[in-house]
């Protein structure tokens, strides 16, 4: 059951990092996103490369990822989807998916039909701006992953990714102090960072030994965020969380 309270809707929370929505806007957005909710188990396929793009979908709970398989079985994870992430917002423009999307944990996905979505956007420009901001941040994250894979060494790469995930989870209220859930296997981290599973394992052990992270039982603890940021050259600028649309804030 999706939460009844708009304020606990992770997309609503995320957009607060851009500009404050009005009470009415929160209600509308939450309602549209929870009218039709699918519950899906872990490690299932949501969208298949080559297939038709799905309806606009919002991850309400759980984790998923975009990924691409090569013909010989190599997999690259392109992005992690966490609660509050909208996917295929503009899917209807393309004929077919160029990558796949699959769940990592059990998830709840809210599906919004195109006409309903367009209606919300045209009636609520602040929401439209917020979702545009979200799309741009998504592109910035993809660029940062390019940097990560291309120019950072193993400890930086893994640590940087963990930093990013922590900050993103924080922006939707899914952290508790310096801790958060991290339901990823080392194999998934490897496919996201372009490394082998064995090397991820050794790298994590190094990060642990340097007391940069504590990671066990699917929980990540960051003892000292500043130190980890410095060690991994993480600068959160690219996440554009500084309420860049603050001038659009609703007044109610």
């Amino acid at each position: 059951m999706p939460p009844a309270d708009p304020h606990s809707n992770p997309l609503v929370r995320k957009l607060d990092n851009f500009a404050r929505l009005s009470f009415e806007e929160r209600r509308i957005l939450h309602h549209a996103a929870t009218e039709r909710v699918r519950r899906i188990g872990a490690r299932e396929s949501l969208v298949h490369e080559g297939g038709k793009p799905p309806d606009i979908s919002l991850l309400l709970s759980g984790w998923a990822c975009r990924y691409k398989m090569l013909s010989d079985g190599r997999r690259q994870i392109l992005a992690f989807l966490i609660p509050g992430d909208l996917f295929e917002q503009n899917g209807h423009v393309l004929r077919e998916m160029d990558h796949s999307i699959g769940t990592l944990t059990p998830v709840e996905v809210g599906e919004i039909a195109r006409p309903r979505f367009d209606e919300v956007l045209s009636e609520r420009p602040r929401i439209a701006q917020g979702l545009l901001w979200d799309t741009l941040v998504g592109a910035a994250i993809q660029r940062e992953w390019t940097v990560n894979l291309g120019r950072r060494d193993a400890p930086e790469r893994v640590g940087h990714l963990l930093c990013e995930l922590f900050v993103r989870l924080q922006s939707v209220g899914l952290t508790l102090g310096n801790r958060c859930d991290l339901p990823l296997t080392q194999n998934e981290l490897a496919d996201a960072t372009g490394m082998s599973t064995v090397h991820v394992n050794r790298t994590i052990q190094d990060l642990r030994a340097a007391n940069l992270i504590i990671l066990r039982e699917k929980t990540l603890t960051i003892p000292d965020m500043d130190t980890l940021k410095r060690a991994t050259r993480f600068s959160p600028t690219y996440l554009h969380l500084q309420r860049v649309g603050g001038h659009l804030d609703a007044s109610d």
Copy 2:
């Protein structure tokens, strides 16, 4: 001097790969993009990380790139911009640039003021759709680079990039048979593929020895595209060039 004929405008040509524009739309788009043209030399900065996003800009001729520097001087090239590429279409939404843009060759850049741009979009939905398509293709390219850096070995990586550039150049009419200009140094290829310059050099020699590419004096020749595609596991699907908006074609 920008070309006077809309049909030779590289953006107009590119959008033809999505849906056919009307005569009037071509004229409007070309006109808006060439009202104010800046000419800039090679290896100059167009936009600086941390600075304010620029006006909407269209690369009319020459090459540029998006890139990011790390604090110790490592550079990652995030994207190559070729004629017809629009950049910072939605820059106004973000407060500051999270990466830089610089020229690689001398370029001509058309700048379009935001109000003028919005006017064109709202009056010409087919252009708006085309530019949205272009943005989505840009995101798909960024994802493909993620795959390239994360999961392909050196020869695949370089060859795949060359395939992509060739096909993109083709889509704006900048190839001649199986040849195209490729004004990149091996150092720039290295920063794009996440490799060292030395290794790029050796990899190119391997590709040459296998007769997959001919690359000299800034000209790339691909003797057999099918073989190169197979060797580098290149599938052009992600470029979405199959006229996916064909149902929107103008009738004049």
